[in-house]
Symmetry: C2
Subunit: 223 residues, 2 copies
Amino acid sequence: MSIHGKASLPVIKRLPKYYRYLSNLSKDWHNENGHNKKDEQNISSSELARLMGTTASQVRQDFNCFGGFGQQGVGYKVDVLLAEIGTLLFGTEGERLPTILIGAGRLGNAVSSFIARDTNGYRLIGAFDVNPALVGKELMQGVTICPLGELEAFCQQHKPAVAVLCIPRQAAQELSDELVRLGIRGFWNFSHYDLSVVYPGVTVENVHLGDSLMSLGYRLRNE
Amino acid sequence: MSIHGKASLPVIKRLPKYYRYLSNLSKDWHNENGHNKKDEQNISSSELARLMGTTASQVRQDFNCFGGFGQQGVGYKVDVLLAEIGTLLFGTEGERLPTILIGAGRLGNAVSSFIARDTNGYRLIGAFDVNPALVGKELMQGVTICPLGELEAFCQQHKPAVAVLCIPRQAAQELSDELVRLGIRGFWNFSHYDLSVVYPGVTVENVHLGDSLMSLGYRLRNE
DNA sequence: TAGATTGTTAATCGATTAACAATC
DNA sequence: TAGATTGTTAATCGATTAACAATC
């Protein structure tokens, strides 16, 4: 399936949006009555494009990066497409990425429940904080907040792949060397520190909450 | 200043990053000793590019969208540049965008303190939630959580420009018509609902926390 | 003046869109 | 078979990078 395999970053970033729209389409279809068990839900690139506010060309180009799973004259089977994109995004069940949370304050707390509830593909296996008042608390079922001092031993034992950073910029800066050394391959970074620049070889998704809000402000004022 | 004025979206999205790097440069400089009061801190496009992991060409092209504030042979004055970009991003003091928070649960709570602490250009003036247990609580100084029923009256009186959505997807879907009708011009949307598609004429910044995490997963598994 | 670095134009690169032949 | 829609190649568009003349 992913042998075609030359998906560019813009394409990859669109995958979650396809996944959302297809999920909703599938949900709506299954909630409707009167479908024969053998009925197949199909959607054409042009209809999906209309819904998502893009072009049919883009939809077809994107899907073809991963191998053609459409039917000429008919369209794409929604459930097949959904499963396909789901596997691309989340891997298979056993592949969930082991993830740790650094910083379990208010933001970390909200983000951890978000990961547990609204994402697939990740498994939160540990949480760390410098604040002694938080250490020992149970962040969620099976995850107790540990002191930062235990980070190294934990990583050696459990080999997390992803770290979610909900700490001040300064702290992220000081910790980033350490985390890469401990084998972390990806970051989801809320700390306003550009890890990507420091470690160009590591896959990093800098979220920068503030950045998006700033550019929104610019656009509201100037457009 | 913004008469050159043909900044494309990619350029606008880079502005916050410039702002961060220039802030740090300025901070470091002012912390150093031995500067004469009249010393000016300059930085060349190539040095800034090296720090940020981009090219000198891009830096110069970007800055020139807003009018050239460099000095040939010398570079850019850090503080001038910082003030200039700051004004672009945040407007002037009196222009802070009046903002409301919809959904004051865990995420909303974290985000509200984030807005108060780490952003400029916004002024949180109201918060709303459907949960009666939250209504009446003081979210932060001067902002008490109101029932959603008071939204319309509030908007008519205070005319907020931006809404931050920290509510479930479904709720966002139901509320979006209403919010646009009430004069909201920009959204910072954590609800996984594509407002941008519904209202192409409205400036929307969809954050989609989950999306960024999903594409990170793809890249970790496939690259 | 000589050296450095900007401002700006031109070249390149990549992503999006359009077109159309293949085929269900 | 005829109609529809994909898969894929070609054309367009825009953003990034390179080059260089202007100038501090």
